[in-house]
Every structure is written in C-alpha cells, then in structure tokens.
C-alpha cells in the first residue's frame, strides 16, 4: 500500500473537509424533512432530497472510495452496475405504477 498511486489521493485534512461537507448535507436533508412537514413543499421536497442523496453518494464514491483517481475500467464496471440496477427497478416501479414517495 505504500505505492506512488496514493500521491494522487486527498490528504487527511481534505478528508476531514469532505466529512464536514457530508455532515452539512445530512443536516440539510433532515432540515428539509421537517420544513416539508411544516410547509408541505410537495414535489420540491422529494426532488431536493434525492439531489442531496446523489451528492453525498458521488462524494463518498469519488473521494472516499477513490473512484475518481482510479482507472476508468473500474468506473465503467461500477457505474454500469448502478445504471443497470437503477434502470431495471425504475422500469419495475413505473410498470407497476408505484411511486410511494412523498411529493411523488
């Protein structure tokens, strides 16, 4: 593990900064939940929560899992699996007419 590849990886200080960003995004998510309960934001709430989750997802995969620093082969395999699963289950949910989410 003492390979030169890690020269490209973020420093511990950067990892802490990323953690702060993730914590703030989580706090915003929880705040959105309560704001929606108070003011009923409708579809906007669902949209914002999904965007926030995608942001957190991308940050963890890109920086903590180092996918953005890895060979493109790995990115293709990983995103390929994700897109396949997302497409498959979106089709299933759409076909069954189920959108059981707030504001959906």
């Amino acid at each position: 593990m003492s390979s030169p590849e890690h020269i490209h990886h973020p420093s511990p200080a950067q990892y802490w900064k990323i953690a702060v960003v993730l914590a703030v995004l989580t706090a915003v998510e929880v705040a959105m939940y309560y704001i929606d309960r108070a003011y009923d934001l409708g579809i906007l709430n669902g949209l914002l929560l999904v965007i926030l989750a995608i942001l957190k997802f991308v940050i963890v995969v890109g920086w903590y899992m180092h996918l953005r620093f890895e060979k493109s082969t790995l990115s293709r395999f990983f995103t390929g699996g994700f897109i396949l699963a997302a497409a498959l289950y979106t089709i299933v949910l759409t076909a069954l007419g189920i959108v059981a989410i707030r504001g959906g």
Partner: protein
Amino acid sequence: MAELAHEAALDHAHPEHESTGVENRKLGMWLFLSSEFLFFGALITNYLLYSNRGGFAGVYPAEIYDIPFTSVSSFVLLMSSLTMVLAHNAQSRDDHNGTRTWLFATAALGSVFLGGQVFEFTEFIVEFDMTLATNPAASAFYVLTGFHGTHVAIGVIMLLALWGISRRRGGLSDKQGLNLELVGLYWHFVDIIWIVIFTVVYLLSVPPT
C-alpha cells in the same frame, strides 16, 4: 492525453498488474459491489411497492420512524467512512499507530450504528408491535434494513480482524494493506447504500392515507 498519462502513472504504481491493468482482487471487489446494487435495489423496490399500499392490518413503518434517532445513526455511519479512509491513508504512509487507531474507530462507529439498529428494531417490536409478520410493509422494512445491518456486521468483523493483525509487530504488510483497501471499499459501499436507504426509506416514505 491527460487521461493516458494518468493511466500510465497508475500502471507504474502497480508493478504486478493483470491484463485489465487492475489487480484481480480489487477488480473482483468492485464487480462484487457493482452486483450489490442489484441486490439492494431489489430490496428497496420491494419496500417501495408495499410501504404505502393500504389495506393491511397493523402499524406501518413510516408511521413510527424516529427521524432524529435515525439521523444520528446515519451521521455515525457517515463518520465511520471518514475514519476508514483515514486508516487507509495512514497505512499508505506506513503509519502503523494511525492505521490501528482509525481501524478501531471505524469498527467502534460501525458497532454503535448496529447498536442503534438493534434498539430501533426492539422499540418497533416491543412498543409498536410491528414484527416481521405484521404486514408486507413491515416485512419489507425489516428485510431491507436487516440485510444492510448484516452487511455492516460483516464489515465490523473484517475491520476487527484487520485491527488484530495490525497490532502485531510491524503492522500490516503490503499484501494485508490491499486487504485493508478492499475492506475499505466494502465499508464505503455499505455507507452509500445507507445514504440511499436513509433518504428513500426514512425521509421520503409516507404511510397509506
């Protein structure tokens, strides 16, 4: 051009690479994680199918979620990703003390998350009488979060095993360092699945009207 230079640099970083340019075990782990999207996708879809379908007896999960409690659990798991990546970073710098400390911290945070899940399940069963057999929504909830919890538990066991090995004189070897990286990938994956579950299952779920 820059991408080619980056790939070449990575080739140089892995003297023993395979025909794909990526170490086999690492490629295997990424493929395994990729396939896990289908596994958890099926469980999440199952939950969405039943979470607000009315007509069943008993309490629905979305009626009894404790969002503040689950938010704290989510935060704990999120921070365990930080300690995991710090363990990986310490290992790459041959900082054995740092590796040990952060590995243990990750396992501890994972255990706290699991404790929270046990508490949540116990509360749902004892206080609200919502068991696995109450209705399809409850069943889908327990199966989804239970399988995620099982993944976390497996991760904690692997982390503690690595921590035990790292306590030996000389710390983790280069080969075991790859094991740490693979366990780290697994751990981060468990975290990103929880990011999805927290949003879709907890924050966006609504009980049937």
